[in-house]
Symmetry: C2
Subunit: 231 residues, 2 copies
């Protein structure tokens, strides 16, 4: 479910198949909304018209701008690296806040990661709040969930290094050149990485922070690390 | 106004003067809440006890954990750099989302900036939602609002360079060593920096992003830039 003008616009620009649209009069009230509805109708997307009150019962947001689209969740697998090429993948280990998860998907997509992978304990990456926070990044980026044994097999099969974000790790600005194929794992907002994940990491890295502050937001930390560890 | 257990704990650890507490039975229901209430009462902080219903009318959050503190907003001025020492300041130019503003304050504090400065058009940095998103960073970090002429005077007086985050700027990873005294300006979530700010910048810097994604979240971008441009 994609809610709101900007998210539905992004969806319309993506290769994903749109199953249908729900629209209220509010969507027609702006030129941008009217243009989007007309473009999708011209593509043969079924549009269900409802009044504001019925629309509000279907929408998750407080101000959903009168437009909501339903699309199929694309089938995605863990990415296969190009021979000899670099690879970045972001692993989410127990990230629970939908806003954080969405910002993580957006950040990974923007910084060139091939996928964002949710391990068990992480919020559903395709829940409407996550999709909305990601500002449409899902539609062009592999966001998927899998289990830890599948990740372990994938790491071994493709010779991908696993690095974890951990406040006890080495300062990321002094670790030197990162591996060409790297999966970066970030953990739960309060508790960090699960023991099983942390102990499997080939290295753990940290961002030094000022004494009075406890931590960085997980999406900010992931952005800094993915940028610092870019290929 | 500081809401919630963790934020009030951070406030209690800070030098800020707590004017009073509002507590409901929910605050006593956990050992952590009961310990915090006892510690503040021992310091002579007045505690008003109310039932859950009255508490809910005062609290801004849906699950405020039965504790809310009121403290004085500290008087803060633009920071004076130490002679010969480095300085980092984050300027917010029209950041409107309270969650983003709070994460920006938290990020600036964590990455060693001396202050986060709100220019006109930016949300009030001391609004309860901003304070909550910052996870207590306000209590140890100078978060203040001022106007553009005051910033211009301060830049000139203390020989501080002004760099702006702008998608048309130079790749931050190739700009070389940053100035010792640097104010980094980030703009509105949709529109970026105001013209008056961008044209005054001594340099503009960007984070290269993948084609299909429009932008990074403003707090993620600020985190990457403050980290990449650390002294």
């Amino acid at each position: 479910v994609a809610e709101g003008l900007r998210t539905v616009e992004e969806l319309a620009r993506s290769p994903l198949a749109i199953v249908g649209l729900l629209a209220s009069p509010a969507a027609d009230a702006t030129p941008r909304g009217a243009a989007l509805l007309a473009a999708l109708a011209a593509r043969g997307v079924p549009v269900a018209r409802v009044d504001e009150r019925d629309f509000a019962t279907a929408a998750d947001t407080e101000s959903p701008q009168g437009i909501l689209a339903i699309a199929e969740i694309p089938e995605r697998a863990l990415p296969v690296p190009a021979p000899g090429g670099p690879l970045r993948v972001l692993l989410l280990d127990g990230v629970q806040d939908p806003g954080n998860a969405g910002t993580l998907v957006r950040t990974a997509a923007a910084l060139g990661a091939a996928a964002t992978v949710a391990l068990p304990g992480t919020v559903d990456l395709w829940n409407a709040k996550v999709v909305r926070s990601a500002m449409g990044a899902h539609f062009h980026h592999a966001a998927l969930a899998t289990d830890w044994p599948a990740v372990l097999d994938w790491l071994a099969m493709h010779d991908v290094a696993l690095w974890g974000a951990d406040h006890r790790g080495r300062d990321v600005s002094v670790v030197g050149a990162p591996p060409a194929r790297l999966a970066l794992a970030v953990g739960n907002e309060g508790g960090g990485l699960a023991d099983a994940v942390r102990t499997r990491c080939d290295a753990t890295v940290a961002i030094p922070i000022a004494g009075a502050v406890e931590s960085l937001n997980v999406a900010v930390a992931a952005g800094i690390l993915l940028h610092a560890l870019r290929p």
